[in-house]
């Protein structure tokens, strides 16, 4: 379902949504005290840890929410914007920003809020920010190579740490709660007028316990993809939800007949696919079936989606998963591509007497074999590529 843009909410309406989301963002930042540079920098002098509390609470809430929505199949993690990781520019840019934070007392978002409530230093900060961006723009040709260096892809923390997303959420929660406890003790020691002295301790312990429990649940819950994949790979589940098979002869006939309702889906890996595949086939990995990327293609009701892999079992798993995900009119190539090669591509007349029906079949196979071999050799580029959903553009960068 989510993200709602661009299918449910148009790109134009999205700008209005942006405005209202911004109002909420600005309102909360100001309510939290982020329009005060002294409050913001208190974080770095041990006098006021409001920023840390707000920042971590927001991060934990949003990350847990994103994960829960994804686990219930309501948010497609494959197409939302994940900030790319450019190692060296992040290190250098982050360092410059950190020093800028201490000198200026704001970051861009908080400076907008502070300027909105009349802080002159914040207005000057915003102006400085514009000068900084101008400086970067003017020297862009000098730093472009550096700007593009250290690209590690759209890396996520869970893949870096080699744990699941749920476990990284738990880790984030544990770090956040730990930081809340430690910084509150520091603040109570260094700031005699800190509001933390009057914290109702009871409630805060209760809240910490609750959020840690949520983290545990997130860490233990298998994510939706793992769960559905386990189902699709389970033989008992496959027996209870059988997929229809298509014989090699029928598939060969439909290919040669240029059947418009046929959509062949190759579930082998991308390397094998790029070397050789059946005519008109698209390559869909198990993982990408969860996302919106191929939904347009898989959801066409009148298309017969014929899944194949080298063996039948791999294709049955993929087709079962397609069924679980609600896609209809799914077939599996009987005997896999190995069987197809044997019966059709390497068709030979058996050295025994044939019934009339058998003779017809073999005549067809012998005729189909060279035609299909040619089609496979001169394989068309995969069709329907244009129905693939695009990744959403976001973030603050040009690339």
């Amino acid at each position: 379902m989510g993200p709602l843009v661009p299918d449910i909410i148009t790109n134009e309406l999205n700008l209005i949504v942006a405005f209202f989301i911004g109002i909420g963002f600005g309102y909360i930042l100001e309510q939290a005290g982020f329009s005060s540079s002294r409050k913001l920098t208190g974080l770095f002098y041990g006098t006021d840890f409001t920023v840390l509390r707000v920042f971590f609470s927001a991060g934990v809430t949003a990350a847990s929410g994103v994960l829960l929505l994804a686990n219930f199949g309501m948010l497609d993690m494959n197409i939302i914007y994940v900030n790319p990781t450019y190692l060296y520019p992040a290190l250098v840019g982050g360092t410059i920003m950190g020093v800028g934070f201490i000198l200026g007392g704001y970051c861009p978002g908080t400076s907008f809020c502070a300027a909105a409530v009349g802080k002159i230093d914040a207005m000057v900060f915003v102006f400085g920010g514009l000068l900084g961006v101008l400086l970067f723009s003017e020297m862009f040709s000098l730093v472009e190579n550096f700007y593009q260096s250290g690209f590690l892809g759209y890396l996520t923390v869970d893949s870096v740490l080699g744990i699941s997303k749920g476990q990284s959420a738990l880790l984030l929660i544990v770090i956040a709660v730990g930081a809340f406890i430690v910084t509150t003790k520091i603040e109570q020691k260094f700031n005699a007028s800190s509001p933390t002295r009057n914290f109702p301790l009871h409630y805060h312990r209760f809240a910490a316990l609750g959020v840690l429990l949520l983290g545990l649940v997130l860490a233990v819950l298998p994510d939706r993809e793992t769960r559905l994949l386990a189902n699709a790979s389970d033989e008992i589940f496959q027996k209870e939800n059988p997929v229809k098979l298509m014989t090699a002869d029928e598939l060969a006939f439909r290919i040669l007949d240029r059947d418009p309702s046929l959509q062949i889906i190759d579930v082998r890996d991308a390397v094998e696919f790029s070397k050789m595949s059946l005519p008109g086939a698209v390559n869909i990995s198990l993982q990408s079936m969860f996302g919106k990327e191929w939904r347009g293609l898989l959801a066409q009701p009148r298309k017969k989606k014929v899944f194949f892999a080298n063996n039948e079992a791999d294709a049955v798993r993929a087709a079962t998963l397609a069924g679980v995900l609600g896609y209809k009119n799914v077939r599996v190539l009987q005997g896999g591509f190995e069987g197809f090669t044997q019966t059709i591509l390497n068709a030979e007349l058996p050295l025994r007497e044939l019934t009339r029906g058998e003779a017809d079949t073999y005549r067809f196979r012998l005729k189909a074999s060279p035609q299909l071999a040619t089609l496979i050799r001169e394989r068309d580029q995969p069709k329907f590529v244009e129905v693939r959903a695009k990744k959403i553009q976001g973030g603050c960068a040009i690339d």
Binding site: F25, V54, M97, G98, L103, L130, V157, C396
Partner: protein, 169 residues
């Protein structure tokens, strides 16, 4: 009389919900520094169109025929300004003033705010986002780059805090 600030955990929770709504509805998180770029690109294009047409950065940021202002972040930040203003009205915090500790001169504070702004603007372009777009929003979608940027920003701020302590305490 100014109203007290909101409980920070509650504020963080609400902020997290807004961020979650942003990701769920639009597929992207919040941001701020991207708007500085929109303004710079638009201004340079208006003042020196030939220069903007030559500069690769300007062309990549706003290819010909597209307005740098018809951008998601521009609308979002307009909302941020209005939202903060409304909060200032509600909390009775609207005053035109320069905030600084008693021993720091107003002029020094403004000079440092300018310098800090320049650095933040510059750094945010290198890191492809600031505390909002890279650190906070990156965290929500488990981006390694987002976490890294957050750690480096706060690490560098802590590392340099001692040297500039006279500005704040």
């Amino acid at each position: 009389m100014e109203t007290k600030y909101m409980n920070p955990y509650l504020a963080g929770f609400l902020l997290g919900l807004i961020l979650l709504v942003a990701v769920f509805v639009t597929g992207r998180g919040l941001g701020a520094s991207g708007v500085l770029r929109s303004v710079v690109v638009a201004s340079v294009t208006a003042v020196a169109p030939e220069h903007a047409a030559e500069g690769e950065f300007y062309q990549r940021a706003a290819p010909k025929g597209t307005s740098p202002f018809k951008a998601w972040l521009v609308f979002e930040v307009l909302g941020v300004i209005l939202g903060a203003f409304l909060s200032g009205v509600v909390a009775n915090r609207l005053t035109l003033k320069t905030e600084h500790p008693p021993h720091v001169k107003s002029r020094l504070r403004l000079g440092m705010a300018l310098l800090g702004g320049v650095l933040f603007g510059l750094g945010s372009q290198f890191a492809r986002g600031c505390t909002s777009g890279a650190a906070l929003s990156g965290m929500a979608v488990f981006s390694a780059g987002g976490f890294l940027t957050m750690l480096v920003i706060f690490g560098a701020a802590y590392a340099s805090a001692y040297f500039f302590r006279k500005l704040w305490i």
